[in-house]
Subunit: 410 residues, 2 copies
């Protein structure tokens, strides 16, 4: 029997859409790894009645309830007091927590504001979960064979509290481990992928196979459960191999989180260096590449040549190319990639020029982008018409550029 | 009387933590602007029983129910059929939807896979909401004075369907408008801010005043409701002025979404150009600046000088500075900013060098960052020890650099 958990996020800012509930996703991932089933996420505002209502529902259906948010020092932070009230527990002030909070402020060379004392009130009999990443301590209450956790809302604190405080407690009581593996697809739609995998998808329940879309990419997830992580991983192996056989070259990565990781690993493996000359992506490609730890081994640098002058004077693109073909053209993208390779002395270089929008160029419209990869003394160039907002066009161009570089190196 | 709405997101990927529920935040924001109160968010998996359960609860407490997700072409996309079953409505195949989907694939030079026909099944009597951004049409059902919407899950489709299809319907029936304004604070904690504002916070309910933390920044939100947006805005005015008086120079922006917008607007206003030389932030500052439409007027470009060679050979930092003081030092950051100003011929430049982690430098630890602003022939430099992961350190450094540039120009 699996344990079931649910997550209740408290905060009016969630219901106003000011904050995206990333805590729920992070906690769910940790619980999935422990083989604990999550069947419900909820969010409610800073309202005692509605917090109590959802808490009661949760008590009736889940073994583990994890609250996030509402532990701050301000008067609308009411999670602890509401839950204590519902369970008929008094709040007790813990002096050692006040000392912790004072120390936290001292490290920041500040005095503790008096209202932070609110954070030292803990329901009687509860276990305090020490917060080394902020001022609000977490709480665990054990009630009728159920475990109720309260964690601070700010994502950085919540993540560390979950990993360092909650997971060690739950891993002792969970008898299951879950492993999910991700197969990344290029050049096929979700429904094509499903058609190809339909036999394998209906075959069994452990592992399960499901294609889905994330950030405009198709992923196939293979999930298995067993007593240990190792056993679960082994269970996925034959299925992953079967999928590799069926999808073949449509697969560009397995078990890797992102195209930038695929690219950096590939470059390291082959001892190839890369640089990039960016216009409309404005440094986004360099930023992605350098997001991968150890990128310094394969990435000496890049240039954001946003204006024509910079493209010509620093990068060294021939002004005649720009005046004859236009700044957004195949020829300019190719020259940018080639010159970038020379300037940064790398084996491969990416050149990107385009209109990100929302304003329009003279002859071209927003979303029109050229991406060129210069490698082995030749250019490979693509022309794209990306749809959507400025942000979306830029993100798509970044992803496409990384994938084109991967393809060229492969 | 306000209308109440709730959002139910369907998809096992949410409960496994593979997808962050950004749709719920986006929809909530749109509803808030319409003066419609949102009291609940929920997420459930692709499970008929649990979808029906939460739907029944929602029918008992909300006027408007918005589902997201589960409208795709695969066999686990069950939102429409489950809701239809619960309301005793048959599903009907709409030929015109099949034509739309075929056209969508044709535009991508592909044939429609047969399982996409599933998306053309619509509950009888329902209104089809045309999807111009993907294959899954939306649906609206009117049931006992309540409106039930079903929107596709992928964020780009969901956003456009909400703005273009749902908002026009709801704006006709809502009799309230809400305006929220955001005051951005620098150099004060959340509880200090609350202490200073305690009088004003307890004063009334329209507008309401609430400080909160977002992405490591303190914001104060002032929210008013009225019959029209203009009236609501006017109601916020005296309160915003009062807060300006109380917090004074701790406020660095009002009604602006992000530090990069503040910076770009300020630069445009003052006709000042900027460039940046980045090491550990890896192009992130340039990427933020160019995220603001119209940045090309004030940003000719920047360099990602990740390796020492690039810092010396392209940017022109004196090798003696790096060898004497180290690559992560005040002196190197200052030289980077100064040389960047010269190379890109801008009025102001940002230089950043540091260790993003997770590996450690020889004498310095991850999170140690120097940021220098070169302006009016002089450097202003800060030394920072940012906590957290590589991603967090980089994000904090980017934000800090933008804020330092704002301060210098102001």
């Amino acid at each position: 029997m699996s344990l079931t958990a649910e997550i209740i996020s408290v905060g009016t800012e969630l219901l106003l859409g000011e904050t995206i509930n990333s805590d729920a996703a992070m906690i769910s991932k940790e619980l999935a790894d422990l083989g604990i089933d999550v069947f419900h996420h909820s969010a409610v505002g800073d309202n005692r009645g509605r917090i109590k209502e959802i808490f009661q529902t949760a008590l009736n259906r889940s073994d583990i309830i994890i609250f996030t948010g509402g532990l701050g020092p301000t008067y609308d932070d009411i999670t602890k007091s509401t839950i204590a009230e519902q369970l008929n527990l008094k709040l007790e002030k813990k002096e050692e927590i006040i000392e912790d909070i004072k120390r936290y402020f001292k490290n920041k060379a500040k005095d503790m504001p008096p209202n932070n004392e609110l954070q030292a009130l803990i329901p009687q009999g509860a276990t305090v979960l020490k917060n080394d990443w902020g001022t609000a301590p977490g709480v665990m209450i054990e009630h009728e064979n159920k475990k109720i956790f309260m964690l601070p809302g700010p994502p950085f604190e919540c993540k560390n509290m979950m990993k360092e405080r909650v997971v060690p407690i739950l891993s002792k009581i969970s008898e299951k481990a879950l492993v999910s593996r991700y197969i990344r697809i290029i050049g096929r739609t979700e429904s094509e992928t499903e058609l190809l995998l339909s036999d394998i998808m209906t075959k069994g329940v452990n592992p399960t196979v499901a294609p889905y879309v994330k950030d405009g990419e198709i992923l196939v997830r293979v999930t298995a459960s067993a007593k240990t992580k190792d056993e679960a991983f082994k269970l996925t192996e034959p299925t992953v191999k079967e999928i590799e056989k069926i999808l073949g070259s449509s697969i560009y990565a397995i078990d890797i989180d992102s195209p930038e990781e695929v690219l950096v690993n590939l470059l390291k493996q082959k001892k190839i260096t890369i640089s990039c000359a960016e216009s409309c992506t404005g440094g986004g490609i360099a930023h992605k590449i350098t997001a991968v730890a150890g990128a310094s081994n394969i990435f000496p640098g890049g240039i954001v040549s946003y204006s024509e002058e910079i493209k010509e004077n620093i990068l060294g693109v021939d002004p005649k190319i720009i005046s004859s073909f236009g700044v957004v053209s195949k020829e300019t993208a190719e020259a940018m990639a080639k010159k970038c390779c020379e300037l940064f002395k790398t084996d491969i270089a990416i050149g990107v020029t385009g209109y990100a929008g929302p304003t329009f160029g003279e002859n071209d419209s927003a979303g029109h982008v050229f991406i060129s990869i210069f490698y082995n003394e030749k250019n490979t160039t693509g022309e794209f018409h990306f749809l959507g907002t400025r942000e979306r066009v830029r993100n798509k161009a970044i992803k496409q550029a990384l994938k084109m570089a991967i393809e060229q190196i492969k």
